[in-house]
């Protein structure tokens, strides 16, 4: 007999926690919200484990759960009252002591990404962070591929603009 959905979820869930947390952080921009999202996602995944089809992508299934919790529960009720309040660079310093020193560039990139509108930010993450194809991202987000493309193009244009401003600021004494 093959494994059941329940067994597959139990076996794989722990290995996905960090990626779930990252997704939660990208969506919420907050550490506490990311923690809560991971927790809620695990609970719901276990509750619905019998619905998971073994052999399909557990990570995508979990992402869909996390996303739905974010959209339907957490975002609406608890977080994002102060939009963009988090300096993404701080997230890199909290756990690894000097992570930011070795990751100045990464910190800057994350700060810039965090300033993008949520829809762009999420799409950028799925495609450039998680490596989804346009089609996979479109399915995950339940939007047409054309919308994925316009979000990515919009994000790239905006990030390029931000990088340019940064450069100008640095050039000034």
């Amino acid at each position: 007999m093959t494994t059941t959905g329940h067994e597959a979820v139990m076996a794989g869930l722990k290995g996905e926690l960090k990626r779930l947390w990252r997704y939660g952080f990208v969506l919420s921009g907050r550490r506490d919200a990311a923690d809560d999202l991971v927790q809620a996602t695990c609970l719901r995944a276990i509750e619905r484990a019998h619905q998971f089809i073994p052999g399909t992508r557990l990570d995508r299934w979990l992402f869909a759960i996390l996303r739905s919790i974010w959209l339907n529960d957490i975002r609406a009720t608890r977080y994002r009252t102060g939009e963009g309040t988090v300096d993404a660079e701080t997230v890199l310093t909290f756990d690894g002591a000097s992570a930011v020193e070795t990751n100045i560039l990464a910190g800057q990139v994350l700060s810039a990404v965090n300033s993008l509108p949520e829809a762009q930010r999420e799409t950028v993450f799925l495609v450039y962070g998680e490596g989804l194809t346009y089609r996979e991202a479109a399915e995950t987000l339940a939007i047409p591929i054309g919308t994925v493309m316009s979000r990515l193009a919009g994000a790239r244009a905006r990030l390029a603009g931000l990088a340019l401003e940064e450069k100008k600021r640095e050039a000034k004494p």
Binding site: Y128, M149, A153, L159, A160
Partner: protein, 271 residues
């Protein structure tokens, strides 16, 4: 060809950069780019906009709070995995699933001490008490969910531990002091008051320098005095004994002789 060439959109340029353009469109665009420097500039700007994104997200992944997530997971796993035993009892008939559920149900009872889980767990447990569960099974299950990381994130704080010990040991009718429960080469990380079948159960969690967590547990269960015995559960070694109406056990992946030495020490210091 006459007239203006079709305008190339940012979307198209982005898809080009991402390798998402069909081959024909890609070739056509490459040809245009070779001739049109302003188009090439636009492409370059979009390329800059997408630079280092992967590195940024990778750094974020590396910064994920692994220890905290492991703790969250351990706690939730115990709470919720027992739910299917209640909502879908039929499933318990199927082989390995049944054993998993049984073990997890045992762990649930132990975890019920958590305030949020309290009402929830007891209601379900009370509604459908399955096979009798030995408290050592429950402890072994609970501990098997912990890794070094679950404890290493907790800072060593003698003052906090002193308070924790005093408050958790009160329901046992004894007073545990840091000296009494100190073990050589093990850092005491946390003292928790739990509950097993309505009986207070205290778990002291220790972290050795280079091994998995070790726990010393005491339950007020009214059991008759018994000399130390040894057993293995869940890949962990256990030494357990009873004295003065209380059950004691020490559990960990520690080899038997060392674990028995620790048990002996606790036997004489805690009573």
């Amino acid at each position: 060809m006459t007239g203006l060439p079709p305008i190339v959109s940012d979307e198209e340029l982005t898809a080009f950069l991402d390798g998402e353009l069909p081959q024909a469109a890609r070739r056509a665009l490459e040809a245009r780019l070779a001739e049109d420097s302003s188009l090439a500039d636009r492409l370059e700007a979009l390329r800059r906009g997408g630079a280092n994104l992967k590195a940024g997200f990778d750094a974020l992944l590396a910064a994920a709070p692994e220890a905290r997530l492991a703790t969250i997971f351990a706690d939730i796993g115990v709470q919720s995995r027992a739910v299917p035993t209640v909502s879908a009892p039929v499933r318990r008939q199927s082989r390995s699933v049944a054993t998993v559920f049984l073990r997890l149900a045992a762990a649930l009872v132990l975890f019920v001490a958590g305030a949020a889980a309290g009402v929830f767990g007891q209601r379900y447990w009370g509604a459908q008490a399955p096979e009798p569960v030995n408290w050592r099974v429950a402890v072994a299950d609970y501990l098997s969910l912990y890794t070094r990381e679950s404890l290493s994130a907790i800072p060593n704080d003698p003052e906090r531990l002193k308070e924790e010990l005093a408050s958790v040991s009160a329901p046992l009718g004894i007073t545990l002091s840091p000296d009494e429960v100190a073990l050589p080469d093990l850092d005491l990380k946390r003292a928790q008051l739990l509950r097993f079948r309505d009986k207070p159960l205290v778990q002291l969690a220790y972290l050795p320098a280079d091994d998995g967590p070790v726990a010393f547990c005491i339950i007020l269960n009214g059991a008759p005095d018994a000399d130390p015995k040894f057993e293995s559960r869940e890949g962990q070694n256990i030494v357990f004994w009873s004295k003065g109406g209380r059950g004691f056990l020490i559990i960990g992946r520690t080899p038997r002789p060392e674990l028995e030495a620790l048990a002996q020490r606790l036997q004489s210091s805690v009573s």
